[in-house]
Symmetry: D2
Subunit: 337 residues, 4 copies
């Protein structure tokens, strides 16, 4: 850690800072520049990170040298993929397609969509039974009934299923049905929920909060790993910016950065990311070119009657066409779908 002192720092203040640092069992090295004094703190950074160094008189600012996440950090060797059911995500060879409706609405609809996305090339089925909606008056999902339908769709198609968890009290219920738990964007810093799924054996798809920095995402993943669950997938799904023409701004910059910094697979959700149906295919192709390990794309066979997010669902034919184009781009970068 590096301490930058204030321009007018006194020798007594510097002594006091050094004393405080040594009180924590660390070593302080003083660098006297032409105008400022900088103090390097040597020792295990974890120990010092949480100490209120910035609150000591004479300190102007403090820079951490080490990254605050340990478990999620990449360390040399190629990290192992994460298994959703029997589908590995995060291998060097494959880009995995995850698809399905926004919400589970009915058995017929779910089965029909599941079969069509499977036929097009999807290997994991998504669908929400518990829906986080901005308005309390919007459709909130079918709950356990929805979970049962998802399990039935898995029995029918063989596709493993991913569905969202919104409440710590629901973990046992979801573990009965799901192959992968999704933490939604709005719960990315619901630390109670992160700890709870950290104690599960199921993999967790962690969606980036729409105003979470990359560092925030990594710290939230660290919560899950620190509880013992190493099977986390990170999902970029759009951030909030000043742009009003799109629902969100899909941040593909996050893809190569997350790949470089962590051992975790990176999923991209262009559906929520841009939120405009006609532009989802372009963003899906770009995500693959940027290095995404998987795509999550919403499909509905009657969008104008969908109970949520109809305006951004692809119809099955459009999804089928997109898969061909995704395959071509994947091949161009040495992977396959």
């Amino acid at each position: 850690m590096i301490i930058i002192t204030q321009p007018a720092v006194t020798d007594a203040q510097i002594d006091h800072i050094v004393e405080r640092v040594e009180e924590f069992g660390l070593k302080a090295e003083i660098l006297r520049g032409s105008e400022r004094v900088v103090i390097g703190v040597i020792g295990p950074e974890d120990v010092i990170r949480e100490k209120p160094i910035a609150a000591i008189p004479g300190v102007e600012s403090v820079f951490a040298v080490l990254k605050p996440y340990r478990l999620v950090a990449r360390n040399g060797a190629a990290p192992p993929p994460v298994l959703i059911g029997n589908v590995p995500v995060g291998t060097a060879q494959n880009v995995v397609l995850i698809s399905g409706p926004c919400s589970v609405e009915s058995k017929d609809r779910l089965f029909s969509i599941a079969r069509s996305v499977q036929k097009a090339g999807a290997r994991v089925l998504r669908g929400g039974a518990f829906k986080p909606r901005t308005s309390p008056y919007s459709f909130q999902g079918l709950g356990e009934d929805g979970l049962r339908l998802l399990a039935d769709a898995r029995a029918e198609t063989g596709l493993p299923i991913i569905t969202e968890i919104m409440d710590t009290r629901d973990l046992a219920l979801l573990e009965k049905y799901a192959d992968c738990l999704q933490i939604g964007s709005r719960n990315m810093q619901n630390f109670s929920l992160l700890k709870e799924v950290g104690r599960s054996k199921l993999p967790v798809l962690l969606k980036r909060g729409f105003s979470a920095t990359i560092n925030d995402v990594l710290m939230s993943a660290e919560y899950i790993l620190s509880e013992g669950n190493p099977n986390v997938l990170l999902c970029e799904r759009g951030i909030r910016t000043f742009e009003t023409m799109t629902r969100n701004t899909l941040d593909l910059n996050a893809v190569p950065i997350l790949k470089a910094k962590t051992r975790l697979p990176v999923v991209v959700d262009p559906t929520h990311g841009i939120g405009l149906r006609e532009f989802i295919p372009s963003m899906a192709l770009a995500a693959v070119a940027a290095g995404a390990d998987a795509l999550m794309i919403e499909v509905h066979d009657d969008p104008e009657r969908a109970r949520s997010d109809g305006e951004q669902a692809l119809v099955p034919e459009a999804f089928h066409d997109l898969v061909q184009r995704v395959r071509a781009v994947a091949t161009a970068i040495g992977r396959d779908v």
Copy 2:
């Protein structure tokens, strides 16, 4: 609701849109402009709001005419204040000071801080027992032990207490000790938690998410009211922008807007809002001038040993001075502290 059609919309598409609207029991009125066709939808907007109109072919965009929140909306008469213990917040006359440490750390420290903020003029005591921290390795709060100390501090000082709830499973526990529940910024769209506190009899201080629009804040408050709890206070505590010099950007624009649009009291937290100790007083004064009903300010008597947020805590003397200045500004706008 107003439907804007695409430039190349066909008559058949328009007929289909009208049909769909009528299917929902609503009336469609067609306005043919010189270049575009606009369709007004007449009827109860709640019915149509959740229908996927934007997914119908030929529709370019859709504007809601009515506000999606009903219960939190201001409707004429002066709304009643919300009581925290016996302290009314949201009266025309008073600006209420809420103060205390970031975290409850120990009995001695809490009591000492509680007494000094009370003496300076604070009427509600704040303190965290469950702490939402970005890192899993940071101090997570004392839990129930912290709640007990808060209750003891209330017994000692008479100040009602406000403390944060992070998990739906903790409501019963918190109800045993707290006078007001706080929902933190990162849980503002934790809808399970919002519903849960909506069933409580305690008032709820809802902190604005750091990237929540004003509309998002109102919808989250609507969740709580829709479950039966009308006692919600809204708290502006800084939003996330591109600025890096401050911890957050305290958005005082939200104060008069929230006051105009809702029946709920508006609290401002300049401590987290700007996050730099030396500038907290200026922002506190500005918040009062902007019309805030209450201020929430963190105080610590030994910031450089605080277990959280020491760098932004005021020492008791600084808080005492600030209260005098707050009082002068409150008086200038016809209120008192």
Copy 3:
């Protein structure tokens, strides 16, 4: 245009609004909903757009139905490419590579870089002679000497050159040397400069301001076209968000949207867009997959001695490798480099 009136609007106010609309030679149609009154305004929107309708008592808000840009809008047929020298940008077949140093520094360096990027596949040479720098103490460019060196490099390699204009007074000078004028991000809404280059015969590469909405970009391009110059290329180069790990957030969402809405070619600059050398290749590939017509990438053969932006320059070998990968992705989507 659609006028939404306030909830408490009176009949007298509605009459006054209608009167005002008719005063402008337009027609008003009143839609009375169950709770609100909406007024549709029929007639040429250009006439009404600039009238201060929102200032009329009783008006709550106003929505424009038509887009405020006419000349830049796409209208059916495939738009013609823009020629930089003899290189067409914006054809269905080709992705064009624009490359060179950030600043022109010396003859040897410029020639060496020009030859290496040409060999790798670049078809246009970039280089700054007038440099917009955040600090007045930073290198400000070689001025006309730099322009002369660029012209010499063109004579040597045959590559047409693109260079930045920063001052309306420099147009005649730049027209002597350049094949394409660049308007930098910080000048995207320098309307005097936009008008000035609108009177030039040279094509203009307009960089998106780092906090310009897509609509703002289109309006700035409209300025140039409205002065008579149809040869504008739009360049996405990163927007400002809350993320601090990258220099900017390259917004690839803008690529398909700009392609759909305008007749202008779309260039992507991943160098400034993400600002971190190691991640530029991934973003370049993603830009091509998203549909970019050209890439602009900075190359330097001794980055650690570069006079500007050394930390984000690719060395020639890295650029050469990247071109191979760009070609593969371009081929996958049916284009070539």
Copy 4:
């Protein structure tokens, strides 16, 4: 300057970094921590700031210790006020009111508005003759005719005038008429214009770009001072955030920070800052409480016929009322209007 090296940095790389630093005539001190190597660079920071240290292999990141602005920085003593005509802005005692129409429209209107704002308490008259408009089809101002009218209004009322400069070629013209030059938000990083007004004898009101960091503002002011003109006023006028309910987000956090960091007076423009007429008074009061030295507020006597920004203009009566309230708040903090 502090260099943080990469985790896997080699000794040869460290030697190379040190060599490079010494090549610049500076001294390098190596701090070996438990996991990282940090290199402190000792010497005049100006020398090293522009060197591409971050481009040297093995360097992960670089922190500047000193601030890159020298001339605008506060240095102890109370800085002198800036004179607009004979009105000092930036004294400890006074908050100055600057008011007038958005655009100069006609002699009668300008004179009428000028007289009414003077009567209410304004001491400087604002009005645009050259208008930066998002659309080329919007009213662009009366040009020199507008300047003449402003000069006439000054002759009539005695109020000094402030008006916007948009083009380097207009400086001589504006110097004939204006008492203070305004640089608009969109030109805050038009460095050619900054240098040009830096050579003027007139004071310059520099509006913060709507996505400029505080550091950016200070660097732009530094441009003006570095050319010899010390008379700069900084103006906060709203930043661009994700909020859509307001035109901009007035950032009052900037007020105490700019006051603390610079020797320049700080003006606040609540009119553009929030952009909603009914909330401008609250933001004006808050700005004064936060420490603003002046307020700039647009007034129009017939907003629904204004040629620009009618929806955010106060009518003279509302401005008059506001001045009384501003005076009360100014008094509460020990100043006067």
